[in-house]
Amino acid sequence: MNRTVLIVGAAIAIALLAVLFLGLGKDPTAIETPLIGKPAPQFALKAVNGSETIDIARLRGKPVVVNFWATWCVPCYQEHPVLVENAPAMPNVQFVGVVFNDSADKINAFLRQNGSSYPTVLDEQGKTAIEYGVGGVPETFFINPKGVIVAKYVGPMTPDILQANVAKAMVQ
């Protein structure tokens, strides 16, 4: 009986330690998205740096990178050059910047100062951000040519991270 108790106790202790150990590497504020493998929520928003309306439904047939950001977001300043420099090098991929809780004036000032190489839209009242389950910025979604979300990245991206995720969107 003592042995059984010992084994049961050890099993419970090992299970608890395993749960704690697995949790150590995780960011407690990061929310796992249920949208991976699901069709990307639709939106049609007017570009602030142009006159066109970006309708995500019309972008089917090529990979799409949807980057949520804001001018008040400090990590977005770090990430912006990565996107601006890499977007022209990937002509088969459509980049879209979605700015929420911001104003068109501030966005245009930001883009004039920091450069722009793809359309940026303003998500008023954060309705599109809510549909994508965005908690904070920057967050980036990678959508395959069939319109399905294949990856999400939270935080500022490096060129390597961007390219690795774009590759996922191109394969699937």
């Binding site: 009986m1 003592n2 108790v5 049961v8 106790g9 419970i12 504020t29 929310i31 796992e32 998205t33 249920p34 949208l35 929520p41 639709q42 939106f43 049609a44 929420f100 809780n101 009242q125 954060g126 309705k127 951000a129 809510i130 549909e131 994508y132 389950g133 965005v134 908690g135 904070g136």
Partner: protein, 142 residues
């Protein structure tokens, strides 16, 4: 456009459109069932964060269009997962900790009883020293 997308995602509203003080009260009630995704332990109703305020506006919009509480919770769950619900749907979330606690209590009680009843080998009063045996015999007048 947003209304069209909502209709596609959730179907037609299944309740009565609300307005005035009823809308205010219901917005607060439904928002209190949603967890703020950028806060620690705060509901959307209580959080001053911009994301939570946007979510609260969305709840208000949907209630105003006649969506039910269940439809609204399902809408947010689609985007944020079960995390966003203050009361998760999966009953195991509530049951499993209690089950583990009961198992733990049983193990502790069983072990404690066993230890009191049976001190285990090596701790028994077994005397092998002939000198001690002799002293015992003298004390007990054997």
């Amino acid at each position: 456009m947003i209304a069209l997308l909502l209709a596609v995602a959730l179907g037609v509203p299944q309740g009565q459109p609300l307005s005035g003080s009823a809308l205010d009260q219901r917005t607060q009630e439904v928002a209190s069932l949603l967890r703020c995704p950028v806060c620690q332990g705060m509901s959307v109703a209580d959080s001053p964060s911009t994301v939570a305020q946007d979510m609260k506006h969305q709840v208000r919009d949907m209630l105003g269009k006649g969506y039910t509480q269940e439809q609204i919770l399902a809408f947010f769950e689609q985007s944020y997962g079960q995390f966003v619900l203050e009361k998760p749907r999966n009953p195991w979330v509530w049951v499993l900790p209690i089950v583990i606690l009961i198992i733990g209590a049983i193990v502790v009680v069983t072990t404690a009883k066993k230890l009191t009843r049976d001190p285990g080998p090596g701790t028994r009063d077994v005397v092998t020293d002939p000198y001690v045996e002799q002293v015992r015999k003298l004390v007990n007048h054997d």
